[in-house]
Amino acid sequence: MIYPGTDRVAERRRTILDKDTKLKRLREVSDDDLVVLLGHRNPGEQYRSVHPPLDELKEIEDPIRDLIEPTPGAQSGDKIRYIQFTDSVHHSPITPVFRGRMYHTRYRGVDTICYSGRELMEARERDLEKYAKELIETEVFDTARTAIRGITVHGSAMRLDEDGLMFDARQRYRYDRANNTVLYTKNQMAIPINRPIPIGAPGEEKDLIANSIIYGISTVGYRDAEELWEVTGKLMEENVKGGLNPELSEK
């Protein structure tokens, strides 16, 4: 995986984007709990479909079909569903831009869009559940600085609350001091659920900073990422020259 720079932030970015690097599993969320948090179907309920399984369809001839194997969700005709994560600027383990890039390198059959605080993923439902499970259970999720939010997503740039949690105007989760865990009491659409779902303890500040992929005063200073800015500066120049006259662009 290519990303410029030799500092620890650049190294961490390469690690996250590298599909051959397995993400470290930090917690477990049961399949049923995941389904409740997503809110698209009830636990045990069949997947809804928008078309019959591909095996039962007579499809028009297309050479792409010979090259790309359908995902299980596409093969089964699942509806397209979504999950959305909000990442705090205060060192959520991943950020929207790198989520988008990582989704493209690690997952198949997804659509995504990048904002400042959140990243949406859309995929066939059973594929989405598989990806979402990995995204919540592994090192790219911190229970205090990362949140599952389908609506009212702002809060990523707010200061943290007294328990170190990212602000959520819909109060989908709270910190359970007695058990040192974050409890979700609403699903991603902020609809109350019938039982709280514990998703684990928040990470330690020092670990979050050590693993942060964000440049800045508390990690690696902006001005120290010299190789990165050399690359972006070159891209800028080549973009301008190439737009004016492709002959001016460096070959």
């Binding site: 707010m158 200061r159 609350d161 602000f167 800015w229 800028m236 737009g243």
Partner: protein, 545 residues
């Protein structure tokens, strides 16, 4: 960060959910009370901001008041919505209702084709009649229904020229006096720029653009002033009159804004087609801040936000609640001032002054990196500032505006400024923080780097002539909001008297306009306090008068 009522902007933790919800806002309390009265009157539910089940419960965190930079005004966010702020509306209306036309060809036509004599006396007579016809007075037919003059009292026809000898003989009520409106050097430059040519700045009544749109302006001004010519010079006949009308109406008309492409569906003179270069010409802050390019730049950026973000994006593209917050960062809480002053000092130290650096990719990189990194470091040092600019659109508009201003100030070159503006958006914030702005925003920034030096239609133009009227740009709140930063700063750095047109510059110096373009932020601040008196109301024809 006095608006937060907190003494430590470096604190990383806070509390939420304890501020009293929507009730912490006086405006929301007013709206809730008003809505309950309206419910009785209308028999139909409307605003219900007191309901927790209407979506997100409002006021879960501190509802921050806004300080209007450069003034002593604090207000609530609601006061900054264009529907709630009469000054903001008048700003847009005063630009829309402006029709500028040259008179020299019409005068030549009168003398050569018609055989009339044009003298200062006849010009005065013409202006007297034109100021009658422009407000809706009849001159040719006796049974023409005329317009209530109280409805059109803000309309006018005034002259602009660098020809002092001629203007000395024109009734001063009909002149925009360059010497009175500008410092000596700027006045000299503007008069030289306009030369001996004679232009008229016509303001059709505000009510006209409020019941139609800017597409009416050329027609209204052309018809009414041509009627004034006909009367003042006793014109008659068929073919001759047709030739003259065509000349006086259209031949030297200064189109302020091009029509949009059909899908966007806007006529000429609407914000979408108005070039960014005119932002610095509409803004007259340089006339009252001589030798202070920074003040002129920040006032111009405020104007740019009101015009392109509030008037175009929020009103024409989005409608409804819009995106007030994204623009407010530019004219509130002194952030833009402080950061512009920082980079201005840095540029002076680094390059020996404004417009001293020869434009190059190295200079653009140097200045843009410094500005962007400095501001991002400030966001790191002060989590409260980050919370104040809580959305990516707010941060990216701040970063890109400052990048545009800084590259322009350093080089005095608008293209350098424009490249810096898009570079900060496309690469610097995104790669430093791993965050974008609003969805789909950054593709345009990449496109605009590739289009920066292009002259192909639908791609680029000289920066002064660019506008939101590119299909890729028109819906991008950030690109359209302050692209003008590149241009205003470049011309301010060079000490230019205007950015794109001396005629447009002078047209907006008219101190009789309802919106005073010398003090955009002060005017908007008056609007937040409901102290600004707009034009175009229907009071004279409403019941109870």
């Amino acid at each position: 960060m006095a608006t937060f009522d907190e003494d430590d902007a470096t604190r990383e933790y806070t509390t939420f959910f304890q501020f009293g919800g929507w009730k912490q806002s006086k405006r929301k309390q007013e709206y809730v009370k008003l809505a309950k009265e309206l419910l009785k009157e209308r028999g139909l539910t409307g605003y219900q901001g007191d309901r927790d089940d209407m979506g997100v419960p409002l006021g879960q965190r501190f509802i921050e008041p806004y300080y209007i930079s450069g003034t002593e005004t604090m207000c609530e966010a609601e006061d900054l919505h264009q529907i709630n702020n009469a000054a903001m509306q008048q700003l847009g209306d005063d630009i829309k209702r402006t029709a500028i036309a040259g008179l020299d060809m019409a005068h030549k036509m009168l003398e050569v084709r018609i055989g009339a004599t044009v003298t200062p006396e006849t010009i005065n007579r013409y202006l007297e009649v034109a100021n009658h016809t422009i407000v809706g007075g009849a001159v040719a037919q006796e049974h023409m229904p005329e317009i209530n003059p109280a409805m059109t009292k803000d309309a006018s026809v005034k002259l602009m020229s660098g020809n002092d000898e001629l203007l000395d003989h024109i009734d001063e009520q009909y002149i925009i006096d360059i010497d009175k409106e500008y410092p000596e050097k700027q006045a000299e430059d503007l008069k030289e720029g306009i030369g001996k040519r004679l232009f008229q700045a016509t303001r059709i009544p505000t009510i006209a653009v409020r019941i139609s749109d800017a597409g009416i302006v050329h027609r209204w001004a052309a018809n009414q002033t041509t009627l004034a010519f006909i009367t003042a010079y006793a014109l008659g006949g068929g073919a001759v009159l047709a030739d003259f009308s065509l000349t006086s109406k259209h031949m030297q008309y200064v189109l302020l804004g091009t029509p949009s492409w059909p899908r966007r569906g806007r006529g000429p003179g609407e914000p979408v087609g108005v070039p960014y270069g005119y932002v610095g010409d509409f803004c007259q802050a340089d006339a009252v801040n001589e030798g202070d390019p920074v003040s002129y730049c920040v006032e111009s950026m405020a104007l740019s936000i009101y015009y392109y973000l509030h008037m175009w994006v929020n009103s024409y593209v989005l409608g409804g609640i819009g995106g007030v917050n994204a623009g407010a960062v530019i004219y509130t809480n002194n952030v833009l001032e402080e950061e512009t002053n920082y980079i201005a000092d840095w540029i002076k130290d680094r390059y020996g002054g404004f417009a001293m650096a020869k434009p190059s990719f190295d200079v653009i990189r140097d200045v843009t990196h410094e500005m962007t990194f400095h501001l991002m470091e400030e966001y790191n040092r002060y989590p409260l500032l980050l919370e104040h600019h809580w959305g990516g659109a707010q941060r990216v508009v701040m970063l890109s505006t400052l990048a545009g201003l800084s590259s322009g100030l350093a080089t005095g070159h608008s293209l350098a400024g424009m490249i810096g503006y898009n570079y900060a958006q496309a690469y610097l914030m995104k790669e430093a923080w791993g965050r974008g702005s609003f969805g789909g925003q950054d593709s345009i920034d990449h496109l605009n780097l590739a289009f920066a030096a292009s002259m192909i239609p639908d791609e680029g133009l000289v920066p002064e002539f660019k506008s939101p009227n590119f299909s890729s740009d028109s819906t991008n709140a950030i690109t359209v909001a302050t692209s003008a930063s590149a241009i205003v700063s470049a011309h301010a750095a060079r000490g230019d008297a205007w950015c794109l047109s001396p005629v447009v510059k002078v047209a907006f110096a008219d101190s009789k306009l309802p919106f005073n373009f010398k003090y955009p932020r002060r005017e908007i601040a008056r609007g937040t306090q409901q102290e600004f008196m707009p034009e175009g109301d229907r009071d004279p024809i409403k019941p109870g008068r």
